[in-house]
């Protein structure tokens, strides 16, 4: 008992130290957001602002309608991308993990290939395509584009996840008389839940953090995601550091909330475990 308890304390301390080191840049971001522009450039700059000012945050929140609208746009785009990516990737991952068919290797390679070009270079083709489909300044343009970021990733991750589920379960299901579709929905899917949650979360976060698709396909500023607001502070002639940092904090705030909320599901999914002996 005592040994276990000592171990837990050691782990706690290690965890705390790692937490402090790792999160220091974020602390620094917060501190910078609370300083005045002049104080930021002092040498040496104080670790905690002498003239603590909420000016940067105030500016953001006073344009609150813009900020809220940016969040709304980001939310729509990210959820849309997440849904498309997850809905399409789950069966694809299952198909690639559990079945043998001729083109399988080619398929896996194709999914990998589609992730090999930086988005900046696929941009031109997508832009022309979307403009032809009259999808510019429409939420579907960045949704469809952002889904292409999350989809192949989800397929590959979920595939390795499905692969590690033992074949005995398949066979047990078949003995029980489940057809392949049935066994997929009733048995595989619930077991793969942690993997699915992870894939969905990744797709959402990648879409949320995307700047280039949301910015390029929406020339109407009222439809742009929150990430594009960074250009309010990174300007042609100057970078307003305190505002930029304040913006960063505000931009991830809702995502952090969602994440904390989802952590419970991730954790419960993980502790339930994939395999019941």
């Amino acid at each position: 008992m005592k040994r276990e308890r000592r171990q837990k304390i050691i782990f706690f301390v290690v965890g705390l130290v790692i937490f402090i080191i790792f999160l220091f840049p974020l602390y620094w971001m917060l501190v910078t957001a609370l300083k005045t522009q002049v104080e930021i450039f002092e040498v040496p700059t104080p670790l905690w602002p002498r003239n603590l000012t909420l000016e940067a945050f105030q500016k953001q929140l006073s344009a609150s309608s813009d900020t809220l609208r940016g969040f709304k746009n980001s939310l729509i785009i990210s959820v849309g991308a997440m849904l498309i990516a997850t809905v399409l990737s789950i069966p694809a991952a299952y198909g690639l993990a559990r079945f043998r068919f001729k083109m399988k290797k080619a398929f896996i390679l194709t999914f990998l290939i589609t992730q090999m070009l930086p988005s900046t270079l696929v941009l031109t083709s997508l832009y022309i395509a979307f403009s032809g489909m009259q999808l510019l300044n429409n939420y579907f343009a960045p949704i469809l584009a952002d889904a292409t970021i999350g989809l192949p990733f989800s397929v590959i991750i979920l595939r390795s996840y499905f692969v590690s589920i033992p074949k005995e379960l398949d066979e047990a299901a078949e003995i029980d008389g489940c057809g392949p579709l049935n066994s997929f929905f009733r048995i595989m899917l619930p077991i793969a839940r942690p993997g699915v949650v992870v894939a969905a979360v990744f797709s959402f976060v990648y879409a949320w953090g995307d700047l280039i698709y949301g910015l390029t396909f929406m020339t109407d500023p009222t439809m742009r995601p929150i990430t594009s607001s960074i250009y309010n502070y990174v300007q042609q002639y100057q970078t307003l550091w305190n505002s930029t940092m304040a913006f960063g904090i505000i931009a991830i705030f809702p995502v952090i909330l969602i994440f904390i909320f989802m952590q419970k599901y991730i954790v419960s999914g993980l502790t339930n475990g994939a395999i019941k002996a």
């Binding site: 171990q7 399409l88 896996i108 290939i113 991750i157 700047l211």
Partner: protein, 303 residues
């Protein structure tokens, strides 16, 4: 015997059917642009020929030849930079992420909170993270130098992003910070698929921590590890936003990656075909990585 053959036959079409929607989606939205990009790289589209389609002709591999053959070829340099950047990033991200995953796989007070908090670095939009680190690594006024000097590790402020030799170090550090949660998360998910009983019986057999790690954990999560490494390589190799925001490829091309070079060629110098050619070089390199990945999962298939 009978069961297996039955599965094989129905498997062929069913597996195909399961996979098809996702595949079609990607081919439409990414596959076609990739092909267009390849075609573009074989033409001579630039600021002069852009407007007039009749002037755009196929010139074969000329763009590639010019990019590689230039004295002090920036393309060659950028390939080297990208490799260094990728390998260095992955090495540290993976090891640290793995260690953290092992740590957070255990239960102790605060583990959920700490684990969740570490994910925050990955939730931050990359452009903001890039700016944050650009700020941290400022030569004077940057907190990195300030702390290092306060702790007496250095007596003079370091150049970081200003000097060709140290700029790469700075962007790698930033990239490691951003990438650790990704590695940690995926490995953690993989770790949960390892049943507790295996460890219990190993403990009964008196296995050490070291043995448990290398003979049980790692083999059991091998597919997850390979996926993480491959994806990590592909994603890091094509990183653009972070480097663009921090250094734009400078100083003096010391942090020029293939992705930044391709962007620069296309959207700053209006040499569209050359930009497409550079992007294809990146693509070709990653293609080899992809094929290598295929070979490794091949052996796993026969589980």
């Amino acid at each position: 015997m009978k069961k297996k053959t039955k599965k094989l036959r129905s498997g062929t079409y069913l597996g195909f059917a399961f996979t098809l929607p996702a595949l079609v989606y990607m081919v439409i939205f990414i596959g076609i642009p990739i092909i267009q990009n390849i075609l573009l790289s074989f033409k001579n589209v630039n600021v002069y020929t852009f407007a007039d389609a009749s002037q755009q002709k196929f010139i074969g591999f000329q763009n590639y030849a010019e990019l590689f053959g230039a004295p002090d070829s920036i393309l060659t340099k950028s390939i080297g930079n990208t490799l260094i950047f990728t390998v260095a990033s992955i090495f540290f991200q993976f090891i640290i992420g793995f260690a953290l995953a092992l740590l957070f796989n255990k239960k102790f007070p605060g583990c959920n909170f700490f684990r969740g908090a570490i994910m925050v670095s990955w939730l931050l939009p990359v452009t903001v993270a890039g700016l944050l680190f650009k700020f941290i690594f400022a030569r004077s006024g940057g907190i990195a130098n300030q702390m290092l000097m306060a702790l007496h590790f250095i007596s003079q402020p370091l150049e970081w992003l200003l000097h060709p030799d140290s700029a790469m170090v700075a962007i790698v550090i930033a990239n490691i910070w951003i990438g650790i949660p990704f590695n940690m998360m995926l490995i953690l998910t993989g770790l949960t698929t390892v049943p507790e009983d295996i460890y219990e019986s190993a403990n009964l057999d008196g296995a050490s921590w070291f043995q448990k790690l290398f003979y049980i954990t790692i083999p059991m999560i091998k597919p997850a590890i390979i996926s993480v490494l491959t994806l990590g390589f592909v994603y890091t190799f094509k990183v653009f936003d972070l480097v663009w925001v921090m250094t734009k490829g400078g100083p003096v091309n010391s942090t020029e990656l293939v992705s930044t070079y391709a962007y620069r060629l296309s959207f700053e110098q209006f040499l569209f075909s050359k930009g497409a050619a550079a992007a294809n070089v990146l693509f070709a390199i990653l293609l080899c990585v992809g094929i290598f990945y295929l070979k490794t999962i091949n052996s796993d298939e026969e589980m």
